[in-house]
């Protein structure tokens, strides 16, 4: 009798737990069912990253209606996820069954997810005509291990931003185009204003990696998965001068944190006079520090004229677990077509389209004369030499992390520039050995 009662209690508990677990399960069965019919129908959810509010709400509403008009049986749901929560949300959704059908990802995270089979292989689902409509570099950023996993949506290229008032105070008329010129400019401005003047954006290490590729100007820094930059004089000089600028107070100490957001805060408070960033850089400055915004000017990146500059790509990928493959792919194609990309770029006012056709529009030659528009003009000019400098790799996170850590150690004088480059090469080689990737960039 007692045994039976025990069994009953254990059984009840097991049942309750099983039901709870089923609710939290990954829904393998349901996710394996995909629409087999040729006509697309059903619900498709698209996730954008930090694009809520006006003017984006109106743009996406129109986009949604146009797609639903083309495909009356499809119900489009567009949801915006804050950028800083995107990776976490995507990861959580992909491990469960409630996945979005189309998701806005950056190429590095895309490659991480693609490496684990989380994304739909679009290679045979997208026509050659569509593939050829994109700029080559941005298109390649959606390719991982020879398979297409994402379509490029919009681009931001690096430009330089400077406070023209501070440049005037220091009698500087020319924008620096080499590490030595950056040093000279920063020194003159710091001397004239008594404040730090240059902020090298580190982010999570990616911008330093891109800088290294730009500085080596055509010579690969990684060959077949082996770091070959340890003796590159230009990169070494860049590390040396950054250390010197930090030591001499031209670079603010907050650079060790390194995010563009910190750069914006320092620029707004007058503790930085020039830096490199995307066209979106001035966004919070326009409202947060209107006086600084008015004297802000954009120029080409702080590189030699022929040096390649990075283009940051935002793309759309389709999770492998989507329950509506055909509609998801159709929506991704629709959102990224030339017409919609052009309209999106005009709406945002700070990004460039990734299709060849939309870039021919007059808008990119005469975007206006506000500081933001001038940045847009510089960005579209630099697009000619813009490339995806770092290809998506599985070990991307390790490369970026070690780059940030070692660059900061070099900046703060904990390592000599020579030691820093040697250590960085070692860390990169270790990461490539672990992932077995034989990339060259």
């Amino acid at each position: 009798m007692k045994k039976n009662k025990k069994k009953l209690v254990v059984g009840t508990l097991a049942a309750v737990l099983s039901v709870s677990l089923m609710a939290c399960g990954n829904g393998k069965e349901s996710s394996s069912k995909t629409s087999g019919s040729a006509d697309i129908s059903g619900k498709v959810t698209l996730w954008t990253a930090s694009l809520s509010g006006e003017p984006f709400d109106t743009y996406f509403n129109k986009l949604e209606k146009r797609f639903e008009k083309l495909h009356p049986d499809v119900d489009v749901v567009i949801e915006d996820i804050p950028q800083n929560e995107m990776e976490q949300k995507v990861l959580t959704s992909l491990t469960g069954s409630n996945v979005p059908d189309v998701v806005n990802l950056n190429p590095h995270y895309m490659s991480n997810i693609a490496a684990q089979g989380g994304l739909l292989d679009l290679t045979d689902m997208i026509s050659d005509k569509t593939k050829k409509s994109f700029l080559e570099g941005p298109y390649e950023s959606g390719v991982y291990e020879d398979k297409l996993y994402a379509l490029p949506w919009y681009l931001t290229t690096t430009v330089s931003w400077y406070n023209s008032k501070k440049f005037q105070e220091a009698n500087i008329e020319k924008i620096p185009t080499s590490p030595q010129e950056i040093y000279n400019t920063a020194k003159a401005i710091t001397k004239a204003t008594g404040k730090p003047s240059y902020y090298p954006v580190i982010n999570d290490g990616n911008t330093i990696m891109e800088k290294m590729v730009s500085l080596s100007n055509g010579k690969p820094i990684v060959k077949e998965g082996k770091a070959v930059f340890a003796k590159n004089k230009d990169i070494l000089n860049y590390f040396k001068l950054n250390q010197k600028m930090y030591k001499e107070g031209m670079i603010p100490q907050e650079t060790a944190e390194g995010s563009l957001k910190t750069g914006q805060e320092l620029y707004m408070t007058g503790n930085t006079a020039f830096l490199e960033g995307g066209v979106t850089f001035l966004g919070p400055i326009e409202s947060g520090a209107p006086d600084i915004y008015k004297v802000s000017k954009a120029a080409q990146p702080l590189e030699e004229k022929n040096a390649p500059v990075n283009v940051a790509v935002m793309n759309f990928a389709v999770p492998a677990k989507t329950k509506n493959k055909e509609a998801a792919v159709a929506l991704a194609e629709f959102v990224t077509n030339a017409e919609n990309q052009l309209e999106f770029s005009k709406t945002a006012g700070t990004v460039l389209p990734a299709t060849k056709e939309s870039l021919k529009d007059d808008y990119f030659k005469n975007p206006g004369d506000s500081p933001k528009s001038l940045g847009m003009l510089q960005a579209s000019n630099s697009l000619e030499r813009a490339q995806v400098l770092i290809p998506p790799t599985e070990n991307s996170a390790e490369l970026r992390e070690s780059t940030k850590n070692i660059f900061v150690k070099n900046l703060q004088g904990k390592l000599t520039p020579e030691q820093a480059l040697k250590q960085l090469a070692l860390e990169w080689n270790k990461a490539f050995n672990k992932s077995g990737e034989k990339v060259t960039f």
Binding site: K5, V9, L13, V16, L17, S20, L21, C24, N26, K28, E87, Q88, L91, L94, T95, N112, I113, A115, Q116, G117, G118, P196, G249, P252, Q253, E254, T255, A256, E257, G258, T269, N271, A397, E398, E401, K404, N405, I406, V408, K409, Q412, K414
Partner: protein, 313 residues
């Protein structure tokens, strides 16, 4: 003739049935009350722990939901990873900074706000304010205070600790101290309340006797207050150790684990590995943290029972 045994049998049957119902109620009622906790703990704690245990022995791909058995390879990799050792060292250093401050500062505050003076309630509220301040807000305020041009930096130059303005959060030698100060500030009011409860349970006549004997305020604190607060000290210590092992929010919001990993603690290390989709390594490191936390909890239980024994003696 037959009536009596039938009635007896009926009474017996009723009694048995009643007893059965009573036993059933006795047996099932506690389980009924425990069920919500069991389900919640099972789903959100036990099962994830078991899953993490399983993943730590696999080369697990979380998105593909598959993985090969690799034995203790993940643990070997962790023990070879200098970042893991650095995060463990940072966690220990963090505890060493936070523990004495969390034990003594709230105690002093509690003694101060335990006085019967006008307006003391206002101070209690003020000291408790950081506890209810959201960490995001606190982190923003502290980042501004710590900045190279901030008040703290200027103060440190003024009192001669630094020659030039220095942001504590971005120097690898001081970043951990900077973050620890935020933790201490945030927990001050909470631990003060624990001490306050301890103080208010000390019988007043003990102080009165000491006063009659001519004891000074310091002597009273040393010989009465501090020993009588021993259980609270144990509680605060153990709570600090456990919270310190799991510290994450303030680090993620202020330094992100930097500069150069100087504030990357064990939880931060696990989080980074998880976000890089290195789930097996994250799970293995999580198990190590779990073992360390269990160790701290056992220590708490041992110390608490020892204190109780001492007090009884």
């Amino acid at each position: 003739m037959n009536k009596e045994p039938v009635a007896l049998a009926q009474v017996k049957a009723k009694t048995i049935q009643k007893e059965k119902r009573r036993l059933n109620a006795k047996y099932f009622t506690p389980w009924l009350f425990l069920l919500p906790s069991i389900v919640i703990l099972g789903v959100f704690l036990i099962i994830p722990i078991l899953e993490a245990f399983k993943w730590s022995f696999l080369d697990y791909k979380i998105i593909a939901d598959s993985g090969e058995f690799v034995g203790i390879e993940n643990f070997k990799e962790i023990f070879k990873d200098k970042d893991f050792w650095m995060s463990l060292l940072n966690t220990i250093l963090f505890l060493l900074i936070v523990l004495p401050l969390n034990v003594f500062l709230p105690m002093i505050l509690a003694v101060l706000v335990n006085q019967k003076i006008k307006g003391v309630a206002t101070f209690r509220i003020l000291y408790y304010l950081p506890v209810i301040t959201p960490m995001v807000v606190a982190a923003l305020i502290w980042k501004m205070l710590y900045s190279q041009n901030g008040i703290i930096s200027a103060l440190l130059v003024k009192i001669g600790i630094f020659d030039s303005p220095t942001n504590l959060l971005v120097q690898s030698s001081t970043a951990l101290i900077g973050v620890a100060m935020i933790t201490v500030w945030k927990g001050l009011g909470y631990y003060m309340i624990i001490y306050l409860a301890g103080l208010q349970s000390i019988p007043k006549d003990v102080y009165e006797s000491a006063s009659i004997d001519g004891a000074s305020t310091f002597q009273k604190f040393k010989s009465i207050t501090f020993p009588m607060l021993a259980p609270s000290v144990t509680l605060v210590s153990v709570m600090t150790i456990i919270a310190g092992m799991k510290v994450f929010e303030e680090i993620a919001l202020t330094t992100g684990g930097g500069p150069s990993g100087a504030t990357t603690t064990l939880v931060m290390y696990i989080y980074n590995k998880f976000m890089d989709l290195d789930v097996s390594i994250a799970s293995a490191a999580g198990l190590i943290l779990l073992i360390l936390s269990i160790g701290a909890s056992l220590l708490q239980m041992k110390m608490t029972s020892k204190n109780e024994d001492d007090l009884r003696a």
